[in-house]
């Protein structure tokens, strides 16, 4: 399964001369948001008495953000994560936290590589295909 879905392609198509860094800007906002949310989930799950509603709230937000940018794998882990929050299953939540952190780290790395390559292509006078 790919790291991103069609939503990411749609965002790329919105980029134009008047907003040449749109995708990079949106990705940066997502990175900031996701890191804060993952840290908040971790802190909440460390508590002696876990507030699963609060954990769920953070997961819900991350699911929303990841849907909006097309971060498919992150979104899918969030869906499973929410089930464990509903069941108040701490171990399940901890496993999902590890998975979501892993998927996010991989996605960030791949997107940063993609953006670097795109910049190199543009600097060399080339163009980046939308699809």
């Amino acid at each position: 399964m790919g790291y991103v879905d069609d939503q990411f392609s749609q965002l790329h198509k919105l980029q134009d001369e008047s907003s040449p860094d749109f995708v990079v800007e949106v990705a940066s906002l997502f990175f900031d948001d996701a890191e804060k949310l993952i840290n908040s989930m971790a802190r909440a799950l460390e508590q002696p008495c876990v507030d699963f509603k609060q954990v769920d709230s953070h997961v819900h937000q991350l699911k929303g953000s990841s849907s909006s940018i097309g971060a498919l794998r992150v979104k899918n882990v969030c869906i499973a994560f929410r089930s464990f929050c509903d069941a108040q299953n701490r171990e399940g939540c901890m496993r999902c936290l590890q998975q979501v952190s892993h998927e996010y780290t991989m996605l960030k790395s791949k997107l940063q590589t993609l953006f670097r390559m795109e910049q190199q292509i543009l600097a060399a006078g080339g163009s980046v295909p939308l699809e």
Binding site: L14, E25, S67, S68
Partner: protein, 144 residues
């Protein structure tokens, strides 16, 4: 005329006496506490010709209308700090705001969406907004 994005901008939306015209721009307000969502939704709306202003929460949106700003359409998130989408929608309708108000939410619960609709929405969409959701709304504005 709408200025750059930002509810604190001194340039507020202005609509002529005949706001709905194919030769004039359509004005949209995006209300969401998530800066990424504001950026994405603004970009999608601008790509189909809307002039866009943003607000970070329901209170900022209501305050815009109180200061005389007018919009053809408002896209409003349900969950926001300070004033959420439900309270903001109720407040806008109580002020006789006639703009089309479209709720945008990540929540899948039918009950929650129904409560949001009952606040005075014309429509409620699941995030994210897409071209497929926006274009019919623009066409409807042009028809009317």
């Amino acid at each position: 005329m709408i200025g750059a994005e930002g509810a604190s901008s001194s340039k507020k939306a202005r609509i002529s006496e005949n706001p709905v015209s194919k030769n004039r721009p359509y004005f949209a307000l995006v209300v969401d506490d998530d800066p990424m969502i504001r950026r994405i939704h603004s970009m999608i709306l601008k790509s189909v010709g809307f002039k866009v202003e943003v607000a970070e929460n329901g209170k900022e949106a209501v305050d815009l209308f109180r200061t005389g700003a007018k919009f053809h359409i408002v896209f409003i998130d349900m969950e926001m700090p300070v004033m959420d989408g439900i309270e903001a929608t109720k407040a806008m309708r109580a002020m006789k705001v006639e703009s089309k108000i479209v709720g945008v939410t990540s929540r899948n619960s039918e009950t929650e969406r129904e409560v949001f609709m009952q606040a005075g929405l014309d429509l409620c969409y699941t995030k994210p907004l897409t071209m497929a959701k926006i274009v019919p709304l623009l066409e409807e504005l042009q028809k009317n």
